[in-house]
């Protein structure tokens, strides 16, 4: 049996040439197989269940649920809201992404301080609740196509600012978002990099977040994804829900128009 397996493996190696290409292909294939295995039973489902319970549970100083929260499609409408965010909200006079909108609803409906939640480190206290909520809310738009509204002047302004933030080079290394995500078909080490200046395809780039990170066992929303991008860009620390994070989400989201959301997805 062992001998047959070895013979098969040898034949497979002999069939692929040159050798370096074969090695690379098998690395990429190995990663793809690993991801497929992980996707079967994505632990993000646990976060979704927690998020749904949080949405419907009376909490905070006002002892209220989030069920009256307007995510852009009217109070309480969850399905389809995620693929149209960030968008302009008249009550706050701001363009908001999912996470900053949840801060608003937490404060107005439940009396949970938005500033305190924004200042809480990722994964702790109310931030852990936000992560579960974004898993639940994004999952309710699973398979739907991104279609961010651009009818309001503030939404168009945020797209323009997001584009400029995307190309903003600075810091010790002179990196911008565009240094890694401005061209198709590039990689860092073996990691494929989506071109975020256009629609990189269904479930890729903007359409793959929020995601469950296997390496850390955490559920990352777009705020945390962008935060870690800026860390690796050697930039200072972007505030949670700050305008630059929302402008970038508008830019990437509008570029991803028509891409199917697979959020919450699974990442290494």
């Amino acid at each position: 049996m062992t001998r047959i397996l070895w013979a098969g493996a040898a034949a497979a190696i002999a069939a692929s040439s040159p050798a370096v290409w074969a090695q690379q292909k098998s690395s990429a294939e190995g990663i793809a197989e690993y991801r497929a295995m992980l996707a079967d039973g994505n632990p993000a489902e646990l976060f979704e269940a927690k998020g749904e319970a949080l949405w419907k549970t009376r909490r905070g100083p006002k002892n209220a649920t989030l069920e009256a929260c307007d995510l852009g499609k009217g109070p309480g409408v969850v399905k389809g809201a995620f693929v149209e965010l960030p968008r302009y909200f008249a009550d706050t006079g701001r363009v908001q992404d999912l996470e900053s909108r949840l801060l608003t609803c937490g404060e107005t409906l439940q009396g949970i301080s938005a500033a305190e939640t924004a200042a809480t480190p990722f994964g702790r206290g109310e931030q852990a609740n936000i992560e579960a909520l974004v898993a639940y809310i994004s999952a309710a738009s699973g398979g739907m196509k991104f279609n961010l509204p651009q009818g309001n002047p503030e939404e168009r302004k945020m797209f323009e600012l997001g584009k400029r933030a995307f190309f903003y080079r600075a810091g010790s290394h002179g990196f911008a978002c565009a240094s890694c995500h401005g061209e198709a078909g590039k990689r860092i080490r073996l990691q494929d990099l989506p071109d975020l200046t256009k629609n990189p395809g269904n479930g890729i780039g903007f359409a793959a977040w929020p995601a469950y990170r296997v390496s850390s066992g955490e559920l990352w929303g777009m705020q945390r994804r962008l935060n870690d991008c800026y860390r690796q860009q050697r930039f200072p620390y972007p505030g949670f829900g700050s305008d630059v994070t929302i402008a970038l989400a508008v830019y990437m989201g509008v570029n991803a128009k028509g891409a199917e959301s697979i959020a919450p997805s699974i990442k290494r």
Partner: protein
């Protein structure tokens, strides 16, 4: 008659202008200024990564504003000339260090993030494999930069100390010191200019690329 008509005409013109003024769209937004304001308001210091990192020099500012498009020739030439002036050749005239240490440095992607403890050059890696193929043995390499496999060999460098190799050796040193000296909007960090790596570290990377004994040139 003519004299009487003029005030009327003026009045009519004034009315038309003021109507047009009301109907005209709001003045165009200065997006570049608004972006600067947004960046300033959105970031804070964290560890070694302070908000002063948001300040751009001429090259970073011009390449950012171009939004991925090529720079006008005059701007590009001026930026390259200004960056060329920053290149400092090694103080002892020696360009080539130890390729084995250089390989470790090329593998090392650490340094200068807000989770790193120090901005000292000794705590920084070269990040080279993140973007470049370098040796044949390392298959986990990025593709943002060109392949550097056989870098010295392909350029005919058989003895980096020989006078014939001098132009390539100095050009390579300049690339590592300040890549914008020869490519205004290069994505490559300016390792010497921005004090990311010191002379000794740069010499070890030079050896990795140019020493005939380095695995890069086999």
């Amino acid at each position: 008659m003519k004299q009487a008509q003029h005030p009327l005409l003026f009045a009519a013109v004034a009315v038309i202008v003021s109507i047009a003024g009301c109907a005209a769209p709001a003045p165009a937004i200065d997006y570049d200024a608004a972006t600067q304001q947004m960046m300033k308001a959105s970031f804070r210091d964290q560890g070694i990564a302070k908000v002063d990192r948001l300040q751009q020099d001429e090259a970073d500012a011009a390449c950012s504003k171009a939004l991925g498009a090529p720079l006008p020739d005059a701007t590009r030439v001026a930026i390259e000339a200004a960056n060329m002036k920053t290149v400092r050749m090694p103080s002892d005239g020696q360009f080539i260090g130890d390729w084995k240490v250089g390989e470790q440095l090329a593998q090392n992607g650490r340094g200068m993030t807000w989770t790193d403890a120090s901005t000292a050059t000794s705590s920084n890696g070269g990040n080279c494999y993140n973007c470049h193929q370098i040796t044949k043995a390392e298959i986990s390499y990025g593709t943002i930069g060109p392949s550097l496999y056989q870098y010295g060999k392909l350029r005919g460098v058989t003895d980096p100390a020989a006078p014939a190799a001098k132009p390539i050796v100095e050009y390579t040193w300049g690339k590592l010191w300040n890549a914008k000296a020869t490519n205004a909007c290069s994505d490559m960090p300016r390792f010497g200019h921005n004090k990311l790596l010191d002379e000794t570290q740069l010499k070890n990377l030079m050896a990795l690329l140019l020493d005939p004994k380095s695995p890069v040139n086999q």
